[in-house]
């Protein structure tokens, strides 16, 4: 085959106003316009969408799962960042 492989796009849809765009999958397309059209055909056939984003997959910078301890562990050890760390005197009631 001599055909050029088409780039990969990630698809995000917003099902309702008030909700964030959510990743639903990916697809191949040669340009943004075709990616948007294909996203509509592939991911919104049941009227569950108000808005679509398509992003070239190559534009996404992702954290390395191998570095997840270094990246995310500190939040677990800093328990004073959570409200439950602090005791409110009973007399004060709900806070």
């Amino acid at each position: 085959m001599t055909e050029a492989a088409s780039p990969l796009w990630e698809v995000f849809v917003r099902p309702r106003n008030g909700l964030a765009h959510r990743h639903v999958g990916s697809l191949h397309a040669h340009d943004a316009k075709m990616a948007l059209q294909a996203a509509r055909d592939v991911y919104t056939r049941r009227g569950e969408t108000l808005s679509i984003w398509v992003v070239p997959s190559s534009a996404i910078v992702a954290s390395d799962p191998g570095e997840k301890d270094m990246m995310f562990e500190p939040t677990a050890s800093k328990i004073y960042r959570h409200p439950t760390f602090y005791e409110v005197p009973d007399e004060v009631g709900h806070m």
Binding site: E3, G25, A29, H30, D31, M34, V42, Y43, P65
Partner: protein
């Protein structure tokens, strides 16, 4: 089901895996954690998934053909619109699945090439012809019904992207099964001729539908590992039993006769039991010698070749636009 041909031999031998990594991986699986694309996984897990997901995708794509046969001859505009919507869903399911397979490091072009060259398999069921319009009912009711039995547990598959694709697919598959049964109900309530057509469709699709679940557990070599890795949640025979128990009463409601003289209800187990399945036929169809294998592949290759100019034009247009933008910058 869609991975009926998982027993095919790998060409490249597997390297031995690091036991510590393997144990950590199994612990994650046992804890019901999902495996995501960039996580470490055993090579065998990756290969099994690529094969299973791509066979599933190919099945969705080839599965458009038996139904495509009746679009222009659907009895009413409503039935025609429903059929087109269903076929469009199958194309979409194929795309979700190819995208899920690509997260494992294969390209869609490669997978597609495997289908077109005949190296990859698809479900045996799509190699049977659709001879009368009631087949559209039987396919929706039985084939999609069998598919749902298989796909609902796949929504909890250990591999995240596959599980997420299956959630999308299952939502749509339910429409497929119900529209199929709706056709059967309409035909069974219709004229004597329509009832004969409905019975004929059931006669031809019953056994191939039972075969969709794949070989008996005693003959299914890859099952054990797939169960251990939670790629698969239920055994072939377990799913076939669920399908049988759900479907027999639906056939009775329609007033149709299931073409199995040995079919019986076991009072002790409260399950339906079917007669012997013709595994020779299954093997033949899977190996490429079913009623429509050649026709399906010929049509797929022709369609691929006919569409080449569209893909080339899209690529050329995108390249032209890119060049123009670069000149302007």
């Amino acid at each position: 089901m869609y991975a009926q041909a998982l027993n095919a031999k790998d060409l490249t031998p597997l390297q031995a895996e690091d036991p510590a990594k393997l144990a950590a991986f199994q612990a994650r699986i046992d804890a019901e954690e999902k495996i995501e694309p960039n996580d470490w996984m055993p090579e065998q897990y990756r290969r099994t998934l690529i094969r299973q997901i791509s066979q599933h995708a190919h099945s969705e794509v080839i599965g458009m053909q038996p139904e495509g046969n009746w679009v222009k001859r659907a009895p009413t505009l409503k039935r025609k619109a429903q059929l087109i919507a269903k076929i469009q869903d199958e194309a979409g399911h194929g795309l979700y699945l190819y995208a899920a397979a690509e997260t494992l490091g294969v390209s869609r072009e490669d997978l597609y090439d495997q289908l077109l060259s005949g190296r990859a398999k698809y479900s045996s069921i799509f190699n049977y012809p659709t001879l009368n319009y009631a087949d559209m009912g039987a396919i929706g009711w039985l084939v999609d019904g069998a598919a749902i039995m298989n796909q609902i547990p796949l929504c909890r598959c250990s591999y995240g992207p596959y599980a997420r694709a299956m959630v999308l697919i299952c939502k749509e598959e339910s429409f497929h099964q119900r529209q199929g049964y709706d056709i059967m109900v309409a035909m069974c309530r219709g004229s004597a001729e329509q009832r004969t057509m409905a019975q004929d469709a059931l006669n031809r699709f019953w056994w191939p539908s039972l075969m969709m679940f794949g070989p008996h557990d005693s003959n299914s070599t890859h099952s054990e590992l797939s169960m251990k890795w939670k790629i698969k949640r239920f055994s072939n025979d377990g799913l076939r039993q669920k399908f049988l128990d759900a479907t027999v009463p639906q056939a009775q409601y329609l007033g149709l006769t299931i073409p199995d003289p040995d079919l019986r209800f076991n009072e002790a187990t409260e399950h339906w039991e079917h007669g012997p399945i013709d595994w020779e036929e299954f093997g033949r169809v899977l190996a490429g010698d079913g009623p429509c294998n050649r026709q399906r592949m010929k049509h797929r290759r022709q369609t691929e070749a006919d569409g080449a100019w569209v893909r080339e034009a899209a690529a050329a247009y995108a390249a032209k636009r890119r060049a123009k933008a670069e000149r302007a910058a």
